[in-house]
Amino acid sequence: MCTYATVQTVLEGSAKGPQSSWFHVTDGTIYFDHPVHAMAEHTLNIDFANPAQGPAARVAVELTAASARDLVAAIEAALDSAPAELKV
């Protein structure tokens, strides 16, 4: 199936992207659809991007649904373990 399902969010941070260079991440696109590379029919895909720097300023990940949920749990666990005063 071609889900078209897409969610967008504003992000603030950095990613290490093409040509091993860091760039400022401003936008995230999250979608469940066909992957380009992963060997699964559908994956949870995340683009960490900076559209102002052009289409190539993008770090893309394609995760199976199960591993995407594991990632969400791991992110939540890591955030929960940090002292409250550091989580701004």
Partner: protein, 247 residues
């Protein structure tokens, strides 16, 4: 028929007179012959799509695929261009119609053209193939598992996709539909619904739904590839285009 062909990147005039990139493949022998516009899938103007364009040339047709994401991401890698287009909400239907019309005009202006042009699209391009055939002067159309020709797209997402039910009375070309019975979008029920609507409108169409196949069964570089469905599908496409476009 010679098996020699020529494949190249060209610029064509698309919607609004915009110059956009396109991939053109042609048999090297003299015509006259029919031609095919290939609409790429949502992952973009990629290697697999260009292989399909060359296959149509090998089958004896002039064939072209417009880069639907050229405006959003000129010169970008296909996957980056697809990501950019998705983040910007996808391709407006009006733009797709104009780009396919421009591609068809480019094909009809080629020296070997017999004047007949068909369209084929895969995945999101399947819906766009039907959309084009409802709005552009075309001689045949193929929909490979396009979602939301009928049915209701999800709400609340940035991609603005509507179904084509209100446009189907304007379908101006015979339609070949190729679907996987294990697909959910379009589901087998939606394929039946489309079949019934086209029959009610007295639109010539021919559908094939394959066992043991889901979405994207033509995609040779993806786990969804199903050799039996893809081989039979290619035979159906070849017969259909040869019948309606000439060899």
């Amino acid at each position: 028929m010679s098996e020699s062909l020529c494949a190249e990147t060209v610029m064509i005039s698309g919607e609004g007179g915009d110059e956009i990139e396109a991939y053109l493949a042609r048999p090297t022998d003299e015509g006259p012959r029919g031609a095919v516009v290939v609409i790429h899938h949502m992952p973009g103007y990629d290697r697999g799509t260009k292989e399909i364009v060359r296959r149509f040339a090998e089958l004896g047709f002039d064939a072209i695929c417009p880069n639907l994401y050229w405006r959003q991401a000129p010169g970008a890698a296909p996957d980056d261009a697809a990501a950019t287009a998705r983040a910007q909400g996808g391709i407006p239907d009006e733009q797709l119609i104009g780009d396919v019309a421009g591609a068809a005009a480019h094909l009809r202006a080629l020296p070997a053209s017999n004047g007949k042009v068909g369209v084929i699209g895969y995945c999101s391009g399947g819906r766009q193939s039907v959309l084009a055939a409802c709005n552009v002067d075309l001689d045949a159309a193929v929909d490979c598992y396009g979602a939301f020709v009928v049915g209701t797209p999800p709400e609340g997402f940035p991609l603005k996709v509507t179904n084509l039910v209100d446009q189907l009375p304007n379908l101006g070309a015979p339609l070949l539909g190729l679907f996987g019975k294990e697909d959910s979008y379009p589901s087998p029920e939606q394929v039946v619904e489309l079949d019934e609507i086209l029959t009610a409108h007295d639109k010539p169409h021919e559908f094939h739904s394959y066992d043991d196949a889901g979405h994207a069964f033509f995609a040779v570089d993806r786990p969804a590839y199903r050799v039996a469905a893809a081989n039979d599908g290619w035979e159906q496409i070849t017969t259909f285009f040869t019948t309606h476009l000439g060899g």
